[in-house]
Amino acid sequence: MYPFGKGLSRHLPLLLLMLPLSLYLVFGIGPSLATVFFSFTNATGLPGVEWQFIGLDNYEKFFFSSDSSDRIDAAGRTVYFALAVVIIQNAVALFMAVIINRKLRGDVFYRATFFLPVVLGVTVTGLVWQMVMNPLGGPAQAVLNWFGTSSNFFGSYDVAFEMIIFVQIWMYMGYSLVIFLAGLQSIPKDMYEAGYIDGTNRWQSFRHITFPMIAPAMTVNLLLSIIGSLQTFDIIYVLTGGKFFTRTLALDVFGTAFNGTTADYGLSSATAMVQFVFVFVVTIIAVFYLRRREVEM
């Protein structure tokens, strides 16, 4: 039986959905379509300045112009960033979730502590880590000095990008942890008891009971971290501004549109489209694989 009654009431849910749907169309889909459109133009964003359709010129510029290698490097860095973040963040989060799930004393405190960085926000996180890793008198430098070495941290061409990956993982690990924890807590205790009777050890219990049973949580976490890491902009902007070989595709989109010397909205939009296709393809492959894995398990 239809639960919303008859007459106007019957259509009320549809009508109520119209408002958010319209807002999404105007403020979500609309700008996205505009980006597709602008990627085929030489628009600068300046009012009163004529722009033309230039076909695939921006895409050609992205892949084949004299500075394309910088953009290709940025794309490679984006992949490296995503791989590192997805693998390490989820591995650490799962490990911590399994530990916290064992009814430790003070588990609520641990859970809240691990989730705290998510709440802090990017700017605060950036400031905190810049202070910790201040090469002139910061605590991290003091530790390195004990071992007779030193680092420029976020000002180093050698380690700045890895430091950003570390901060990104620190920032969002709590988020993944909470999702894993929810998945772990939904596993019936009976299964472990049955496994115990059958003589499973801890590793076998994790491998054959826990891991398959948290497949949905794993899917959610992997997808969120894949999409999030491929699009990461804010923490890189705060920590290095894209300097020291830390520029990714998302930074490139911003830098091309707003760099103080040029305002190439066309190329910026084309870069955004390349990034979108990249994220889309990776996500589709991931969804396909993860869903199949869930069914198998």
């Binding site: 600068t44 300046l46 004299s66 500075d67 910088d70 002139l136 707003f258 103080g260 305002a263």
Partner: protein
């Protein structure tokens, strides 16, 4: 019922679209009596005392920000119906973004740019990218100030050289700055019997003497990268016989990034970085004045505009500024180089253009301009301005033949790679700051990027 649903859907969409387009409708057609628009652009607006909010955007700089906060109060005292919405953001890409978005949205009346008009493509630089300020003017977005009386307050040569384009004045430049020198701690120099170096050999000896006494000789704000290039430009100003000729030569192929003169610049830049404080690549620009004021380093590479910030960080600190002596001929090192610094522009279609012009006119009055130059540490572009800053007075001998620095002369090719990009030579890629071991490696990479962008 289908009709009803469609009607509701249409209504919702109309409401949303109306809300989105609301701004445009208002600004384009409704003569809002209280605050905005065409009224203020006409002489008739003089008669009205309608409240106006004048929007001004600027970047963060402690000394000048304080001046403008005080000045804006005085402005409102003189024009009680005008309040000033003075917005400041960090001077990095944040300001670039603010500038562009506000111009695109016509959402400011006045804006500051970080220099005079530099890097206009020339006959010898075919295909070079137009700088943004030129694009704005060409698009008719910037007001022509040529006929404004307050322009006459400024030195006509400086007006011509700083903010004149195609024979018209599009901005008010507030002063010149030098950035090819080093701040030095006078007390440290005196206590160690050191004199200000006038040649490269003297400079290396000073650095060596300081290091021998366990005093950190030098610091750069390496984390922001561009401050390193201030020092590089100091070397370029003193090592190159004619920077402009060298730059023109890059375009026609008669000079190379790998020429001995360019390698010498990189070589000496690398030496300076090798002798800088450990961890200088992690020092951000905002921390540099404090680091110097604390007495932890004897010299820092910075622009003369930061003198007020240093004095503010430690009012008791005795410090001076000398040109980086890149050459062993003292005469080549004598003159400081720099640029025309901050310039104010009024948007042609500003909602409060008349108020913006009043603001600039009052700013240009001798009393306020004098206060500004003494606060900012700029070298005045108005004549006969009494300079009370001892720091600026001391610079006078080095400013008699003030010349433009590399980044004011250099015009880059479009789509050039990162080793030759922007407006500077990228010494930050050199060890110990960066991954390249030798100046020649960097020079060759720069030349490759430059050639590829032909």
């Amino acid at each position: 019922m289908k009709r009803y649903t469609l009607l509701m859907l249409s209504l919702i969409l109309v409401i949303i679209l109306a809300a989105c387009g609301g701004n445009n409708v208002n600004t384009a057609s409704e003569p809002k009596p209280a605050t905005t628009n065409a009224k203020d652009n006409t002489p008739a607006a003089e008669a009205t005392e309608d409240p106006i909010t004048l929007k001004v955007i600027h970047w963060q700089n402690e000394g000048t920000n304080k001046f403008y906060e005080a000045f804006n109060k005085k402005f409102t005292e003189r024009y009680p119906h005008i309040t000033v919405d003075y917005t400041t953001v960090p001077s990095d890409a944040t300001y670039d973004q603010l500038q562009q978005t506000r111009i695109n949205a016509n959402d400011t009346d006045l804006l500051a740019i970080k220099s005079g008009f530099a890097s206009v493509p020339q006959d010898w630089s075919p295909g070079a990218q137009d700088p943004l300020w030129k694009q704005w003017i060409d698009a008719g977005l910037i007001a022509d100030l040529s006929n404004e009386g307050f322009v006459d307050n400024y030195n006509p040569v400086d007006v011509e050289n700083s903010t004149t384009y195609n024979g018209k004045v599009y901005g008010i430049n507030l002063g010149k700055v030098s950035f090819t020198g080093l701040f030095y701690n006078k007390t440290i120099f005196e206590e160690n019997g050191l004199a200000v170096p006038t040649t490269w050999d003297e400079f290396t000896k000073v650095v060596g003497d300081l290091k021998a006494k366990n005093i950190e000789p030098l610091a750069f704000a390496g984390k922001d990268v561009w401050p390193i290039n201030l020092a590089v430009q100091g070397l370029q100003a003193s090592i190159h016989d004619d920077q402009l000729a060298y730059i023109k030569g890059l375009w026609d192929g008669s000079t190379k990034w790998t020429d001995p003169v360019a390698i010498e610049v990189l070589d000496k830049a690398q030496w300076m970085m090798e002798n800088a404080i450990t961890g200088f690549m992690g020092v951000d620009y905002g921390s540099l004045p404090g680091l110097f004021a604390s007495g932890k380093v004897a010299m820092i590479a910075d622009g003369s505009w930061d003198a007020p910030a240093i004095a503010s960080a430690n009012p008791d600190l005795k410090f001076g500024y000398f040109p980086i002596p890149g050459s062993n001929n003292a005469a080549d090192n004598k003159d400081l180089a720099g640029k025309y610094d901050m310039s104010w522009m009024v948007l042609e279609k500003a909602k409060n253009k008349d108020a913006a012009l009043k603001w600039l006119a009052m700013h240009s009055e001798t009393e306020h301009y004098t206060e500004f130059t003494n606060t900012s540490g700029f070298l005045p572009t108005q004549d006969n301005i009494p300079v009370d800053s001892e720091f600026i007075k001391e610079l006078a001998p080095n400013l008699q033949n003030f010349k433009l620095a590399w980044d004011q002369l250099f015009i880059n090719r479009q789509n050039v790679g990162e080793y030759a990009g922007g407006s500077s030579v990228h010494a930050e890629f050199l060890a110990p700051a960066g991954p390249l071991a030798t100046p020649l490696e960097l020079a060759e990479k720069s030349q490759t990027d430059w050639d590829a962008a032909k």
